[in-house]
């Protein structure tokens, strides 16, 4: 097997089809807006005589640039590192040792997928921005590289002992969690989004010059409504009732658009979601147009986050994500079980080497003083400006007085809501040290649970502001690779005790001896 994987140690280029894809992408990105602009400004009237040569020039330029890029990028799979050289005028060379590569991710966007190509990303934990990636390789070559990195890594690292029931890569690995279309559909309904509304409004504002009329001219609309009044007669709705009906329809339309976008976006992202436990770690595949395939080694999981929403919680739906140094698309955490019941999440938590809190966990809440202080703080922070606004409103008259009083009432209400929230959120915020683990639960309507392993904590900071010092409580910030973990308003002595315990367990195990 090793023979087949040993590379010819000479520079290679990426797949030649890749430059076609790159040229097409560049053209779509640059060409479509240009075309829209031509149409919008009426230049299309000049006819195809101008348009066609322009498009041809654009196409050949993007082809040329893509070809140069492709021609001058080579990668070499060496003995201990992968090297990439690129650039025509300024050359860049980068070598990444196999040891440092934590993850090899494949991403297939729609266009490259049609050509059977994939983008290969090598994650080194450098922080996401400066990672090495190769665009585009054939699927076979991508798989070969992934296998190669795994092989090379395991040459000098003792291979991870596969737990019982785990089948090596290649054969069918046990599926830990998967979502069928029905589940994705349900998930989508909870992902209701109002963003589309904002986008539509924004687009209307941005492209109103393309419309044959001015959508912001209210007088024209009123005129239109009056002149077409009889078109609505079939509704049997007249006068005030008609107006109410229109508003209701408007809201339903927006809500419908919100639900639809939620479902569509969720389907695009989560379609065919599968999480498997392979010998090398957790393998997650998902996506409709952009299919992603990510492998996350078990040892790289630093902590777990279990989150839910105010509404979905009523139906028992939760989501589990892993905290690690690697980045997942834009999010810092890897969603491994996006939408499931707790009994589906439990086996994944166990497979990651963590435990869910059981009934025996000794939970602690923040100091009662902290609860009172946060309530007072939100009252003061909003009460003072509200009082000031009310005072000013008394001095003013007419429309100014009305708007200023409205501001005062708004501020007061906001302060009140925040104060109530702080009062209740205290009851639902708690933490516990339990065996080798650390639990932090927070949130009132949409509670979240963080589970961290004490040996994987990098540092512990105790912070105190002036009020906290006076009142004898403190915040604790844990240094976690790839995420944050904090406790607030812990009595100072307890905070010192927690720090002592966590650092004691962390200091006992060297970083290099952590399971990896």
């Amino acid at each position: 097997m090793n023979e087949a994987l040993l590379p010819a140690d000479e520079p290679k280029r990426t797949d030649p089809r890749g430059f076609v894809v790159m040229a097409l992408t560049a053209m779509l990105r640059g060409g479509l807006p240009a075309f829209a602009g031509l149409v919008g400004t009426g230049a299309i009237g000049m006819g195809l005589i101008v348009l066609l040569p322009a498009m041809a020039a654009l196409l050949s330029i993007s082809m040329g640039v893509a070809w140069l890029k492709w021609r001058h990028l080579t990668y070499t799979t060496g003995h201990d590192s992968i090297r990439v050289e690129r650039g025509l005028l300024s050359r860049h060379a980068r070598a990444v040792p196999y040891d440092r590569i934590q993850d090899v991710g494949l991403e297939q966007k729609l266009l490259p997928r049609l050509f059977g190509l994939a983008e290969v990303k090598f994650e080194t934990g450098a922080g996401g921005k400066d990672e090495l990636s190769l665009t585009y390789l054939s699927l076979e070559e991508a798989d070969r590289l992934r296998e190669l990195v795994k092989e090379r890594k395991s040459l000098d690292v003792t291979p991870e002992v596969a737990p019982e029931g785990v089948v090596p890569d290649g054969s069918a690995a046990p599926v830990l969690f998967a979502m069928d279309n029905r589940r994705v559909m349900t998930f989508g309904l909870f992902e209701f989004s109002l963003v589309i509304f904002a986008v539509l409004l924004g687009a209307a504002q941005q492209f109103d010059f393309l419309l044959p009329f001015d959508p912001w001219n209210w007088e024209r609309w009123a005129e239109f409504a009056t002149s077409h009044r009889h078109d609505f007669d079939w509704l049997g709705a007249t006068g005030r009732f008609g107006a109410v009906l229109a508003v209701v329809f408007g809201f339903l339309a927006v809500a419908g658009a919100g639900v639809l976008t939620g479902v569509a976006r969720t389907f695009a992202r989560e379609y065919g979601f599968t999480l498997e436990r392979t010998a090398k770690g957790f393998r997650r595949r998902r996506g409709l147009f952009t299919r992603t395939d990510v492998v996350m080694p078990v040892h790289r999981v630093q902590a777990l986050k279990i989150a839910t929403g105010a509404l979905r919680r009523r139906f028992g739906w939760h989501g589990l994500s892993f905290v690690s140094l690697a980045q997942d698309a834009k999010a810092a955490n890897h969603a491994v079980v996006p939408f499931a019941q707790m009994d589906e999440i439990a086996p994944v938590v166990e497979a990651a080497g963590f435990e869910l809190p059981d009934n025996g966990v000794a939970w602690h809440r923040a100091s009662r003083r902290y609860r009172i202080d946060s309530v007072i703080r939100s009252i003061v922070a909003f009460g003072v400006p509200a009082t000031a606004a009310a005072g000013i409103a008394l001095l003013l008259s007419g429309g100014n007085a009305v708007s200023t009083s409205a501001t005062a009432i708004g501020l007061a209400l906001l302060g009140f809501v925040l104060a109530v929230r702080h009062w209740f959120v205290w009851r639902h915020t708690r933490h516990a040290l339990d065996g080798p683990q650390l639990f932090v639960q927070h949130g009132w309507l949409a509670p979240r649970l963080d589970i961290a392993s004490q040996v994987k904590i990098q540092s512990v900071e105790i912070v105190q502001g002036p009020i906290a010092r006076h009142r004898g409580y403190a915040g604790i910030k844990f240094g976690l690779a790839g995420g944050t973990l904090e406790m607030h308003g812990v009595p100072l002595e307890e905070a010192c005790g927690i720090r002592q315990a966590v650092i004691d367990s962390a200091a006992a195990v060297d970083f290099s001896a952590l399971p990896r």
């Binding site: 990098q458 900071e461 105790i462 844990f478 240094g479 944050t484 650092i503 200091a507 970083f511």
Partner: protein
Amino acid sequence: MPGAAYYLYKTPMDEVSKVRAGSELTPLHPNHVKVLRLQAAIFALPFAVAAFVLEVVGVLPTGAVIVPILALLAWLVVWMPIRRHYARGFQIAADRLRVVRGILFRSDTVVPFSRVQHIDVSRGPIERYYGLSTLVLHTAGTHNSSIILPGLGEQEALAMREAIREKIASAAQ
């Protein structure tokens, strides 16, 4: 002037001793105060110049700008660095380092040597002039990815780095 300088050093000590009562922390090198002062002075200079210009232009009554501004800057340059200096300290144990700082907002960080990825000793131009160094411990954590301990003597910082390095190396065996 030595009397005045002594007085300035003397007063805040009582204030600071309250903070440090019963503290097991090692204080920073005395020259650290001078570094902080010089940094504060560099920060204050543009404001002092602006106040002076306003005074010379004479838009406002004599002394209305320059007196409060200069008083504020004097407090910032002379008194604050002393408090900041005494609010800082560190404690080094067999397997961990503790770094404390802050007057109003206190921060008290502990890092086990077993979680230190690499160690830097850095020296800025001002620090170099006063023979000081800053020790920086890097961890893999997103929060506190680098723990900074300024105001160490050059030799002390190097010795600390060597000691921590040796501990990491022996633990990694």
